[in-house]
Subunit: 298 residues, 2 copies
């Protein structure tokens, strides 16, 4: 899947911009409530477990990860409020990695991340204690400091150089190579850091606003299993298993479907356009659709 310039900019624009959000949210409501096998949870052990469609969809938290991240509290049809977000999103991943690794596409970066081991650049709890620190619930593999090992290892390399045992650090040389850092490890570290961070903030926002369900969407996610896995892990970890991350199969079509639902031609399909119906809500469940007297179908 390509990280497309125009689409990533468009997405973040759409999600900060109210009018477009209407489209997305109408589309999202439609998918969540009416399409079977649409909403799913994800983990490495249990990839893509479909969730039951729910009629009582509101309120929920929508986390859209484009170049930046927007978190939107959705209280009802056309009732939403941007409650937060973070500037650490897909653009940060792309920007830093393109400068560090020379990679050119999002695909390339994810492929590197897949082949990487974040412990090559991250300082883990185990690096500090030699073991986990169970008293406060930290596993030895918990990341204590993203890219924190760069500091430590550069010092070692420099000390060795001073002692005449290692390579010298002339300015013209490639520092990353010298200190032995792999671009794959950097990619994985940054993917983990950004996904974990979004997961934690999303969880905390959902707590603050008393929202049980958290849906993730946006170009940073679209089907990327590592990203979904990390986001899911973060939500489970921070909520102590009480909340889950939800994803949507047709996430890429929210805007288009929402726009269609709002402005569909008269007498097209079995429901009226949302625009015609004014602020009338698109039926909130399959049952309501079936029971609707609004059908234009024969």
């Amino acid at each position: 899947m390509k990280w497309n310039a125009s689409s990533s900019v468009r997405l973040s624009t759409e999600f900060v911009h109210g009018k477009c959000t209407d489209f997305h949210l109408s589309g999202l409501d439609f998918f969540i409530t009416e399409i079977p096998r649409e909403v799913f949870t994800y983990s490495e052990e249990e990839p893509m477990q479909f969730a039951e469609a729910r009629a009582d969809v509101y309120p929920y938290l929508l986390v859209n990860i484009g170049s930046g991240v927007s978190m939107v509290k959705v209280s009802g049809p056309r009732q939403y409020e941007r409650v937060g977000g973070t500037s650490l999103g897909g653009g940060t991943f792309w920007g830093i990695l393109s400068l560090l690794t020379g990679a050119r596409t999002f695909d390339e970066m994810l492929k590197m991340a897949e082949a990487g081991d974040n412990s090559g650049v991250d300082m883990l709890v185990g690096d500090i204690y030699g073991t986990g620190y169970s008293k406060i619930g930290l596993k030895s593999t918990t990341i204590a400091s993203t890219f924190g090992k760069v500091f430590k290892m550069k010092r070692v390399a420099e000390r060795n150089a001073e002692d005449g045992e290692g390579l010298s650090h002339a300015d013209s040389e490639d520092d990353a190579e010298l200190a032995g850092f792999r671009v794959e490890d950097m990619s994985r570290s940054l993917l983990f850091a950004i996904s974990n961070n979004i997961g934690q903030i999303a969880y905390l926002q959902s707590e603050k606003h008393a929202l049980q369900h958290i849906y993730f969407g946006g170009s940073f996610i679209r089907g990327h299993t590592q990203t979904m896995n990390t986001l899911s892990y973060a939500i489970k970890f921070w909520s102590k298993g009480e909340k889950q991350a939800y994803f949507l199969r047709h996430e890429g079509y929210l805007g288009a479907v929402g726009a269609f639902l709002k402005r569909q031609p008269k007498n097209w399909g079995r429901r009226n356009s949302l625009e015609d119906a004014g602020f009338q809500r698109v039926a909130t469940s399959r049952e309501q659709v079936n029971a609707s007297t609004n059908k234009a179908e024969p």
Copy 2:
């Protein structure tokens, strides 16, 4: 001020490790409650405004920013719990910048940040809309995506190169230079991103645990005005002006003073060692000290 290898590692170790945290917290309690002109708030407009010493210090949130970040809820003397943290801390700032810019010391990086303009690499709300987006409370200078402009500008550079109008992108060339990104701008961007992010998470944790006061400490902060300014801004922004970030003048001495208070030689100074006193609390205010019958002074 130098970012010292051993101290940064030591700090993060201390704050994940319970025993050492005891020292820090004893020291922190002592400074907060007993030392005048110790706790202060900071902003560019009003640098270093001292806060009144308070007797009702508990509960509070302590945010320690070393190579990683720990957030500790302190409910009383020796009563604390690690409620959260983030791996995006001082080690991340140092690690990424040392790889991107070749800078070797924390000082060097902060100096670059001071001379930088984050809009050189960050995508701002104004870059997307051409103006602020007041409907949802975003200023035009709000950072939409950290390093998000790298993506956009690299695309432009590549398009120009394809059209024969710009520089070519041979792999051996310095990409950062080619695309026109300044190391100063990168440094400022990363300083903002990390401080903002910690500020937001600290605010959300303080909300979740109903803590009114947030104290910041650790080697990432120690007196650095840009960092304090960004953290303060983040707390004010997210709390809509209801909370403030507090800093300590003698923050670097918490551990030492706490250790001394706990294990001071018998009959040294006007109070007994905390260790001798068992779990007895160090007097919580100057008044209590003055009223104390425990004085060893003549």
